[in-house]
């Protein structure tokens, strides 16, 4: 179905998942956890991560069963023509919203953090153009770019976490270590949003060289962000305390600000992190935009998506420029989160349906 050069390796598969998950949210994640789960922040992050892994595995199981097709095709197989198309439309809608929300979120944060006088539109357009350029070259170049950037992104996150160790005070973290189930559950809806991005599994499985080890690599792909996020949340609360973390707008950047090397031979680690965070945002937006253009084309039953990329980019731009202020962006992104959860739940439902009537179809498609 797909040409040889479009094939992906397992490493590329995992790095696609990780780089889509670790994105803009990373600079705000500790705040999000501290605000939504309060004392349950650390546990809630773990639970949301595990939940994400479970959903991702469910999607991967489904994808493995229909390993020649993407979600756009097998949803019609399972749900029937009309419902399947509707579901496809929902997925497409979801991707476009997520891509625009993240684009806007990124540009706003970047404007606030680094580029005060640069017009928002310019930040967005230049980001979008770069993304378009990457996406037009197909899944392979997307995968290669993520594979290239991912080690840098992960390394920079680990550096922030490790180097903040000297500022860590265990007393600050203590209140969050007493399990409180009410608070842990309370944090999940908001925190699951932070883990979004695993949806890329919907689409990339058919591109894989081989499908035998999809499940373990899915777990690796979703597990690494879970571990990193949990440690990041714990570290931030350990450094700042819970109440302060709730009040910082960019806790991860603040965490990096606090890093000083002995003798002050290197300072201003925050700028370094902010720059690397742009890479993380770029891969996330790129992957999402790829998914959006891919699903749109499939929704209309077309084969080649490349020409459509140019048409779809302005749509993302217009949607992204719509919110007027910080609060609107927040509302926008939490709505997105719930759509994402809805899509994921439908997927799990579909998995069961497929499970029931699965055997026959698999033989037919094999």
């Amino acid at each position: 179905m797909y040409s040889k050069q479009d094939r992906l390796s397992y490493t590329q598969y995992s790095s696609l998942i990780i780089s889509t998950m670790i994105g803009v949210i990373v600079v705000r994640l500790p705040k999000l956890a501290a605000v939504s789960a309060e004392e349950g922040a650390v546990y809630s992050t773990v639970v949301s991560g595990v939940l994400t892994i479970a959903i991702a595995v469910a999607i991967a199981v489904l994808g493995k069963q229909f390993h020649n097709q993407t979600i756009m095709e097998y949803s019609t197989l399972i749900l029937g023509k009309v419902l399947g198309k509707l579901f496809g439309a929902l997925v497409t809608f979801y991707f476009i919203i997520v891509a625009s929300v993240i684009l806007r979120d990124f540009s706003d944060a970047l404007k606030g953090l680094l580029l005060k006088k640069t017009p928002l539109e310019i930040i967005m357009i230049s980001m979008l153009l770069t993304v378009v350029y990457m996406v037009t070259n197909g899944i392979n170049s997307v995968a290669k770019v993520t594979e290239l950037f991912l080690p840098i992104i992960i390394l920079s996150l680990i550096l922030v976490i490790v180097l903040s160790g000297s500022n860590f005070n265990f007393v600050n973290l203590r209140p969050t270590l007493i399990p409180n189930f009410r608070l842990i559950i309370k944090g999940i809806p908001d925190l699951v949003i932070a883990f979004q991005g695993y949806e890329i599994i919907f689409l990339v499985i058919p591109f894989l060289n081989d499908h035998k080890k999809v499940i373990p690599y899915t777990i690796i792909g979703t597990g690494i962000p879970t571990i990193l996020y949990t440690i990041l949340v714990a570290m931030t609360i350990g450094v700042f305390g819970l109440e302060t973390t709730q009040n910082l707008n960019y806790p991860t950047i603040s965490l990096a600000e606090g890093i000083t090397f002995p003798g002050a031979f290197a300072e201003r680690f925050d700028i370094f992190i902010a720059v690397l965070w742009i890479l993380a945002a770029f891969t996330t937006i790129g992957n999402l935009f790829y998914m959006f253009s891919f699903t749109t084309v499939r929704l209309f039953g077309l084969k080649h998506y490349k020409p459509f990329v140019y048409i779809l980019a302005p749509i993302v731009y217009i949607l992204a420029i719509l919110p007027q202020n910080l609060m609107e962006i927040r509302r926008f992104s939490s709505i997105t989160g719930y759509i994402g959860l809805g899509v994921s739940i439908i997927i799990v439902g579909m998995l069961f349906l497929a499970w029931i009537s699965g055997g026959k179809r698999e033989r037919k498609n094999a």
Partner: protein, 376 residues
């Protein structure tokens, strides 16, 4: 062919849009503010003193020492307003990114520092590791000093607070914006390092005590040492104790390894802070070298005297903080929040009352290891 035209278009577009950098400020057009002093002037308006680095002096080339900073004081309605009016004095753009120190003047601190904190927290350029101190006198005078060593008074004081405080226990350490912000959010009281200007030299010693973000009193350098024992922020110290002449007169202990851990214990209504202090050190000064040879008894006597003295000093500083200033500078609320989060949530609002009932239980263990190169 179409593709080529598109790529050309893309390149042209990118070149035109991306290369035009809105936020570019040439390095020599930046006025790097390295110190900020906040005072009240005679009419009770905010008087801000900016210490601005003269970049030529920082180039690191040899030659005679020229002036490396320039100070300017401006009265303004708000911080942003005053900072912006710097633009009418210089041809460069004020930049807080390398700000090392914020000094509060005594008069301003007594009126309350709350109204300035918001600007300091919100300003993106100010790093959270910027040191903060309070001047006994005018903040302006501190920044106007020409330091004998080091390029600027703000940088020297910052170094003292962040680095020298490790070896000198009279300096109240680790007060940066982060510390202030954490306490501000929690509503805790704070202490800030004190800077004294005397005979054209600034000394960092002691601490200012803030209750409700208003300066209410001072701790001396000596008292800060004991305060740091309670905070557990001390690793080494010199300590002198008076003994009878036959036991050596006044002896000095070089305590090179101090471990101090505080843990609150709540039993019923009683809150006790249990302080466990382990000190390891050498005797390095004896006033009256005793004629008797060194015996185990003498060592024991020294040890007892040191332990007793340290315990009494810590207790008296604690009593001063609890009964005189009624200010929790000992981070006891932070400890309780950590160890008893539930209790803290319920009693957060009554902390001022509860703090008055807190008892301190000090347990000191001094181990004298060596006595230097001569027998007593």
């Amino acid at each position: 062919m179409h593709k080529r035209i598109f790529v050309l278009f893309l390149i042209a577009f990118c070149l035109l849009t991306i290369s035009g950098c809105w936020d570019r400020v040439e390095i020599e057009r930046n006025a790097f503010i390295i110190g900020l002093g906040i005072d009240l002037d005679d009419n009770d308006n905010i008087l801000l003193t900016y210490q601005i680095a003269l970049l030529d002096a920082f180039k690191g080339e040899g030659g005679e020492k020229s002036k490396s900073t320039h100070q300017i004081s401006i009265t303004g309605k708000s911080f942003a307003d005053a900072t912006n009016s710097l633009l009418s004095y210089f041809d460069s753009v004020p930049n807080f990114a390398h700000c090392k120190l914020i000094v509060f003047g005594e008069k301003y601190a007594k009126r309350g520092i709350k109204d300035s904190l918001d600007f300091l927290f919100r300003e993106r350029q100010l790093r959270k590791v910027t040191s903060i101190c309070v001047a006994q006198g005018q903040a302006k005078d501190v920044l106007n000093l020409e330091p004998a060593m080091g390029p600027s008074s703000a940088m020297v004081i910052d170094q003292i607070i962040t680095q020298n405080s490790i070896n000198n226990s009279d300096v109240f350490p680790f007060q940066d914006l982060r510390y202030l912000y954490r306490n501000f959010i929690r509503g805790s009281d704070i202490g800030l390092a004190r800077v004294i200007v005397k005979d054209d030299i600034a000394q960092v010693s002691g601490a200012g005590v803030f209750k409700d973000y208003k300066l209410v009193g001072w701790y001396t350098g000596e008292e800060v040492t004991w305060l740091r024992f309670i905070l557990g922020e001390i690793t080494q110290d010199y300590h002198t104790v008076e003994l009878p002449n036959e036991a050596g007169g006044s002896i000095t202990l070089n305590a090179y390894n101090i471990r101090s851990t505080a843990k609150p214990v709540i039993e019923g209504d009683d809150i006790t802070l249990k302080l466990e202090i382990n000190i390891e050190g050498d005797i390095n000064e004896i006033e009256n070298t005793p004629s008797v040879p060194l015996t185990e008894n003498l060592m024991e006597e020294w040890k007892k005297a040191l332990e007793e003295d340290i315990r009494n000093n810590i207790n008296s500083v604690f009593k001063k903080g609890r009964d005189v200033y009624m200010t929790d500078n000992f981070d006891i609320n932070g400890q309780i929040e950590g160890y008893y989060p539930k209790f803290w949530k319920e009693h957060k609002d009554q902390w001022d009352e509860l703090f008055k009932t807190v008892e301190l239980d000090v347990d000191v263990d001094v181990k004298i290891r060596r006595i230097g190169t001569i027998e007593p």
